[in-house]
């Protein structure tokens, strides 16, 4: 299992969490599931990274948390994006777009072309 998962780039987990929480309030387990599903199992989020990241984002005010009943009737902690988080998400998305475009440009160059 461990060898099939793609390592997340440093800092990208925060971006993914912000993106997932932007849709609707969601609890930690669902966040991990959602990331896994959307990425078609390419990205697996470890609990050891997920929860510290969630707490860090909560601490910085990008997400807010509330406890209420989940779909199974059990109480869970639901995270939702705050206004501040929305701004952060936008700027990180822009960052990401610039970065991936730049990296894409470099990678598109054929082997001989660079020299």
């Amino acid at each position: 299992m461990a060898n099939t998962k793609t390592d997340l780039l440093q800092g990208t987990l925060d971006l993914l969490i912000l993106k997932v929480t932007a849709l609707e309030p969601i609890h930690g387990y669902a966040i991990a599931q959602r990331i896994q599903q959307i990425s078609r199992n390419a990205l697996q989020v470890q609990q050891g990274s997920l929860y510290p990241a969630l707490h860090r984002l909560e601490n910085r005010g990008f997400v807010a948390a509330e406890w209420h009943e989940s779909e199974t009737g059990r109480d869970a902690k639901f995270y939702r994006l705050t206004a501040k988080g929305r701004r952060q998400l936008k700027s990180e998305c822009d960052n990401w777009a610039r970065l991936s475009e730049a990296i894409g440009l470099i990678l598109q160059v054929a082997d001989g072309e660079a020299l």
Binding site: G48, P52, N59
Partner: protein, 874 residues
Amino acid sequence: MNWWSRLWRKAELEERLDAELRFHFDYQVRDNIQSGMSEEEARRRARLEFGSIDVIKEQCGEASGTLWVESTLRDLYYGLRLFYKDLGFAAVAVLTMALGIGANTAIFSFAKLLLNKPVSLPQLDRLMSVSVVTHGSDERLLAPANYIDLRVRTKSLESIAAYEEWATSVQGQNGPEDIHGVRVSEEFFATLAAEPAQGRIFLDEEHQPGHQQVVILSYGVWQSEFGGDSHVLGRTLRLDGENYEIVGVMPATFQFPLWGQQFWAPLALKSAEKSERAKETLATVGRLKDGATLEAARAEMETLWTQLQRQYPSANRERELSVVSLRAQLVDGDSRAFVILLLFVAGFVLLIACVNVANLQLSRAGSRRREIAIRVALGATRIRLIRQLLTESVVLAIMGGAVGLLLAVWGVSVLRTNMPEQVRRICDTTSLRVDVQAFIFMLFVAVASGVLSGLAPALQLSRADLRDGLETGGGRIVGGGKRLQNIFVISEVILSVVLLIGAGLMVKGFSALANHNPGWEPQNLVAFHVNLSSSQYAAPRQRTAFYEKAIDRINSLPAVQGVAAASGVPYSFYENEVEVISDAQAEVRSRQFPTAMQDSITSDYFRVMNIPLLQGRYFDQRDGDGAPAVAIVSESMARRLWWGRDVVGRKVKLLERDADPEWITVVGVAADIRHEVYDRTFRSVLYRPLEQAPDEAMDFIVRSSGEPKQLFAVVHSAISEVDRNQPVTHMQTMSQKIREQASALHMVATLMGLFGLAAIFLSAIGIYGVITHSVTERKREIGIRMALGAQKAKVVKMVMREGVLFTAMGGAIGIGLGWFLARLLSSLLYGVQAWDLAVYAGVPALLLLVSTGATAMPAMRAVRVDPVMALRYE
């Protein structure tokens, strides 16, 4: 939510985090089951994937920014937990450090006061004192005429003041009472930059003879005699039957000079006194001009003195001037040396304490290896581990510091209230407080030693091979630590032996001085002082009559075996140095004359004191006023002047400057006696009959057949019967006198004794700790030996050999070092030789005894171990 409230609501938050993670875990399990795993497998998978919940929790805490506080708190909690988990270790470590910190802070505070600021005067550094060096006397005084000349001529001093002691009496409720004052010259208060709290200082005209009936009260007398009366100015103080108007009150902080002064009066020199050049009576204190150094003042004074010597050769010939800082004048070299000695001794104790704490930490580190190994296995990082151990050490050090501070406060207050008279005369001990700087320094040393000693095991432990630590599970320590511990113990023993030798020499010397007096018997003697200074005793005849009557009265009291008087009895700080010429050297034109202490005595003096007469006769009725002058000399004087041969019948005369004195015939030789505690040789004493050498102040001695203290009241009333208004002072038993004079020595001896005991106690703990530890370490070995049939006694011997070996090694080095140091410091030893055998034999014996005790306990415990248990231990 800020970090504080997060911290505050920590439990609630943890619960929430727990619930959140559990929710995740349960969902994971549910999904795993849905994907077709058995429940058991589903849980296992989920747990594997989850990893350590505690690590996640810690990381979440870290993410929310409170971890450092939390973990520090947790470390503190672990540190404190140690106190109930391992109370013995913690208590010993805290006590050890407290002892070192407390003792050092107290001694350091005292030393700093004595060496730095013995009197609380502003700009003490600028104050100095000028005096003539008097041969064989500690007193540093100046003759009035010389003082006046120097005062006028000096350019390097802003001002120089003179003062003299004035012991007088006031009429108290129970008859006349002693009161000590100072007569001061007009510059006195200005020189010291002292302002009265009330009223004014003396006017210039009040220093003229006939106008000097004014006084300034000390704060103490204002309170005790006048009840702090706010209208005290203008009231009168009756001294020696004369009225003195109170013109001022000094603040409580002004204490100068230090010899128990209670008031100040103007010094009004009569014209005859102003030209007195031969008799030194005035003490001086001067203030250096801005920019002038003490060296410059000294050079100037020496030049002026040479001029005065040339101008007045007869009076100033062969006298040296001494210019010293006021601080040095108050605290002489010997006192300074004693204090520095105490500082070193206290430092030794601190050193031993630190070594001990380090040692205890090392021992504990060994037995905690398993715990550490488990922590590491559970994922503790190295830094985290080191931090925890360090926090523990710091907690220990701080607890030690706190208890040490209590000890220091207590110690300082004990020192302050028990300061002997001798020390109070050179240092204003009422202002002794815990020196904050000293305490902080000691605390720093303690914390540093705690941290350092905590650090070594921390590094060692975290380096430890995990598996080894878990498997053997024992308290094994790596070789380096063990060697370090052995070195620690041996050096502890060395330090203790050195300290104990010093303490032993001091204590033995003091008790020898206090209890054994060659030449005479101090037991059952009462001494008191009578000063016939009032006008009715102006003529020597009147004084003689008083003494005769007083002696008769006291002799008729029951329980009195004998009574006599002398101008100076032993241990009364009596000095009356005279230069003498003997018939043997009269022809030799020597410039250097022998000196002797002249002591006027009544005829029964030797019999009452039990001083043996070696040759000749006692004084008797033949030796009255007008009869041929006679003297009895002490053995040492007979030897120094006439080589001890045919002394009776020899002649001697006093060297007087402007007169030709009569020859005095020696009629007897008395045995030598020790006169003062700090005398290193016997004095040359020239005893004279009172009738021929009348003195206005005399010490009486009364030999009692029973408890001498019971005579105090009756002797007092006997004197009152002779003269109702005559004060009697310094009524004490001779033993009290000796103790009082040796009080500084007593203090040093007591403190050193206490430090010595502390040292031996700490060393015992050190040895005990190391042996206990090595027994734990060798549990398996001991078990095997016993299982194979080794006898208990043999095992005990094997264990104890180690402890005894340490003691022997440390002891041998310590004795050598102690002997070397004692010889170096022999100038501070009184009543004992630096090589006193009893001390050098007693100290190792005591140490051996203590270390045997300290090793026997763990050794006995070792053999009580069931061999099966010991073997199964691992």
